[in-house]
């Protein structure tokens, strides 16, 4: 479904991504792990179009999308939930969800999807008319995910959904992602700092370091791989 071929992204004079290639098949759940600064977020941005590629190709369902502007790529069903939650603080919770359904393909089903999302996150239903800026970190993350779902993605990218959340909250988020995955079948590309959680639910995974893929494989093999430890602490000497 998705093919990233030899993509290079430069940022402030450095290569954030260096001739990277990954693939993703329909309905697959792929995780990307790696140390900070490895380029994981940049990879998602390159796919969603919010970062420019200096070279390389990105193909989605066999169509070259590298030239398309970010807001146009959403029309193909590529939905990127960025890191740091990024809700619109002065819009209410409901308005944030409604904006999630901005793309024309999702607008008609907006009322029905609102119901679904509220069902997934009952906590949000309680605070529907609160400005999103007043919500807690965990609630904002739920909102960000719900907002991404409102767009009815065929391909969903999540960037560090557990960032800055308490362990309990993080666990809840991951549980929800698992549930969503089982209920609504679409492909997911997950970037996470926490290796174990990232590897728990995925089908396959890539390890990124300094803008390059250093390891890839299915869940089993990566879970047991000692290199994964290195990816996180740069062999801290444990």
């Amino acid at each position: 479904m998705l093919e990233v071929k030899e993509v290079t992204v430069e940022y402030n004079g450095m290569k954030a991504l260096d001739k990277i290639s990954i693939t993703l098949n329909e309905n697959e759940f792929v995780s990307v792990i790696g140390p900070n600064g490895a380029g994981k977020s940049t990879l998602l941005k390159a796919i969603s179009g919010t970062a420019k590629c200096v070279s390389g190709e990105i193909r989605f369902t066999n169509n070259e999308i590298g030239h398309m502007k970010a807001h146009s790529r959403t029309r193909l069903g590529i939905i990127h939930i960025p890191e740091g939650r990024r809700v619109f603080p002065s819009l209410t919770l409901v308005e944030n969800l409604e904006i999630g359904a901005y793309r024309p393909e999702a607008r008609n089903s907006m009322p029905k999807n609102l119901e679904t999302v509220m069902g997934l996150f009952p906590k949000l239903a309680e605070r529907r008319n609160q400005p999103a800026g007043t919500l807690s970190g965990g609630e904002q993350q739920m909102l960000a995910i719900g907002r991404g779902l409102m767009a009815m993605p065929s391909f969903l990218m999540l960037d560090e959904p557990s960032l800055g959340l308490s362990p309990v909250m993080a666990d809840f988020i991951f549980q929800t992602i698992k549930e969503i995955r089982e209920r609504l079948k679409f492909a997911i590309l997950l970037v996470e700092q926490r290796a174990v959680e990232a590897l728990e639910f995925c089908d396959r995974a890539y390890v990124l370091e300094s803008g390059k893929v250093t390891l890839s494989g299915n869940r089993e093999s990566l879970y047991k791989n000692p290199m994964v430890q290195k990816a996180y602490l740069g062999s801290m000497g444990i």
């Binding site: 140390p35 993080a170 700092q193």
Partner: protein, 593 residues
């Protein structure tokens, strides 16, 4: 020293030019207008061009000069030669009244505030009865600045213009000018280098105001004769001055005079030809000129000429070759860089933070963090994204005051001090995303750091050259800082920070984006800096490379300090492991072992 003779030459040439053309009032009046608008624009250029704060209400100062000297002459028979300086004094006071509260705010607020003042002044003056003041012609000639032959006015104007251009040039090539250039480009970095941005802006504002008032006096005595509030405080003045400065070139010495020579006669010609049928055609042209120049040639005519001339002079340097030079050839000797102040060598810790908390809106970024930073050592700060590391630096630096808690540096409570004050005390900073001044050369960047510690520009220049030599940038000092590779940019940031002679250097994620070889090389550089006595605190994610250089370590998570001590202890701290890897990691990994 080679900069001033051209000003003198041009002025003398203009005086001769004016003299030769004879006493025809019409021609001399136009020349006088050119000179007056050139002078007014040049003084406008100081605050709006060099300091980058647009003063839409600039007419306030021209009018202040005009009315002060005019009224003093008419009602108190005070000679305009004295009156002009009193007018300048009034203008400076007004600039302080406007500037002190509003220069702290964003530029737009300042611009709007400056417009409000003339709009308040005009109705009040009208009401008081001085809407129209005719300046009596006493016929005493020189002592009352009243001449039948306009060429005398032109002479005075050119002298005034010469003075103003000299002031502008002096600013441009002085430490003060460096400070303005830096703060205009990047206020954050400028503050971190010890530049008092607020003070510099205020100073520029006062200088501009005073000079403008001098021009105002000449304006009322030489052009107006009958002063009206509309002519002295009206929008016409800012239109002329803004257009001339923008078209000519902001932050250039010759731009405004050049543009005045073009636009003023053009305007007068348009007015005489089409003025009756199409009144306002002059201002239509000025308006168009503003829009077109800002969109397509923002550096102005003279700015563009200067750029073209300098571009043809420098030869291109192959950057790959230079990087190789930095790595292999020139040995980087940061140990030899001087540091300042060793205030309390007996005290073990150079910096304490006592329970500092920082909130942004409702989000807690730092939660009662208490640390001690050991003197003379390299301390590492680690923690996952969002744990508050950079916020900690920003609070210590002075960019954000903490909501609660104290910061003690060398026995001094610096909790609410501004970044520039902290820099002067000896705290240096490099940033996560390098904040070099891209409009300056490499050397100029380093000079910006050095002027903090030097008596004059020449000393700063020498100090900067020495640092450039020690850091391996020697061969490339005159290259623009824009377009350097990441490695070079980082070396430049370090050099600039070292130029401020810090006792404590805060380094934020220096190894981001570097490969492991470069990261280790940078680590060596940091060790070298520490060897010369600088205490270092470094935030870094590349824990592997960090462990090679640190003596002490702090671990943050979720805004709290969760670990502090020797590196191996911190790195093996279960909370740190959990924060980086996730809660299941310890279970999985220690379940098996």
């Amino acid at each position: 020293m080679t900069d001033y003779p051209p000003i003198l030459i041009v002025c003398v040439a203009c005086v001769l030019f004016s003299y030769v053309l004879g006493p025809d009032r019409y021609i001399q009046r136009i020349i006088l207008l050119v000179v007056i608008w050139a002078a007014a624009s040049s003084s406008f250029n100081i605050i709006s061009g060099y300091a980058g704060q647009i003063v839409f209400g600039f007419m306030m100062f021209v009018g202040a000069g005009a009315y002060t000297s005019g009224l003093l002459f008419k009602f108190l028979a005070i000679s305009p030669w004295l009156g002009m300086w009193l007018g300048a004094g009034v203008a400076v006071i007004i600039s302080l009244i406007i500037g002190i509260p509003t220069l702290r705010l964003k530029g737009a607020f300042f611009a709007i505030a400056t417009v409000a003042f003339p709009l308040i002044t005009i109705p009040i003056l009208n009401h008081v009865g001085v809407q129209e003041v005719s300046i009596p012609f006493i016929g005493k000639g020189a002592s009352s600045m009243q001449f039948r032959d306009m060429r005398y006015y032109v002479f005075i104007g050119i002298v005034l213009l010469g003075i103003i251009l000299t002031v502008v040039r002096a600013i441009e090539s002085s430490c003060f000018g460096y400070r303005l250039k830096a703060l205009k480009q990047n206020e954050t970095a400028a503050e971190a280098m010890g530049i008092n941005t607020y003070g510099a802006k205020l100073m520029s504002f006062c200088v501009s105001a005073g000079l403008a008032a001098l021009v105002g006096t000449l304006y009322s005595f030489g052009i107006l004769y009958v002063m009206t509030t509309e002519a002295a405080f009206g929008f016409l003045i800012i239109i002329r001055v803004l257009s001339i400065t923008i078209v000519g070139g902001m932050s250039t010495v010759w731009g405004p005079p050049l543009a005045a020579c073009l636009l003023v006669p053009l305007g007068e010609w348009l007015n005489s030809q089409f003025g009756s049928r199409y009144p306002g055609v002059q201002d239509v042209i000025y308006g168009l000129a503003l829009i077109i120049v800002i969109l397509y040639m923002p550096e102005g005519i003279w700015g563009k000429i200067r750029r073209v001339l300098s571009a043809s002079g420098t030869a291109a340097v192959d950057s790959r070759e230079s990087v190789a030079v930095i790595r292999k050839g020139d040995v980087i000797k940061p140990e030899s860089v001087q540091t300042s102040l060793k205030l309390n060598p007996n005290e073990n810790s150079i910096l304490f933070t006592e329970s500092i908390s920082k909130f942004f809106g409702g989000v807690c970024a730092l939660d009662q963090v208490s640390l001690r930073i050991p003197r003379g050592k390299i301390t590492g700060v680690i923690g996952p994204n969002g744990s508050g590391k950079t916020t900690l630096f920003n609070v210590i630096n002075g960019f954000f005051p903490p909501q609660s808690g104290r910061i003690i540096f060398e026995g001094l409570d610096i909790t609410n001090h501004s970044p520039h004050a902290n820099c002067k005390q000896g705290i240096g900073r490099t940033f996560q995303i390098p904040q070099v001044f891209s409009n300056m050369t490499i050397l100029e960047n380093i000079i910006t750091g050095a002027i903090n510690r030097s008596k004059n520009l020449r000393d700063a220049h020498m100090a900067a050259r020495k640092i450039a030599l020690d850091m391996g940038l020697n061969r490339r000092v005159h290259e623009p800082a824009l377009g350097l590779t990441l490695w070079e940019t980082k070396v430049l940031e370090f050099s600039r920070a070292l130029a401020t002679q810090p006792a404590l250097l805060l380094i934020d994620e220096p190894m981001a984006g570097l490969n492991s070889e470069e990261a280790d090389h940078l680590g060596e550089m940091i060790k070298g800096i520490a060897a010369s006595g600088v205490t270092i605190v470094v935030i870094e994610h590349n824990v592997h490379s960090l462990l090679r250089i640190v003596d002490y370590m702090v671990g943050l998570d979720d805004g709290k300090r969760v670990a502090e001590g020797l590196p191996q202890e911190v790195v093996n701290n279960p909370q740190i492991i959990k924060a980086y890897l996730g809660s299941r990691w310890k279970e999985e990994h220690h379940a098996g072992s």
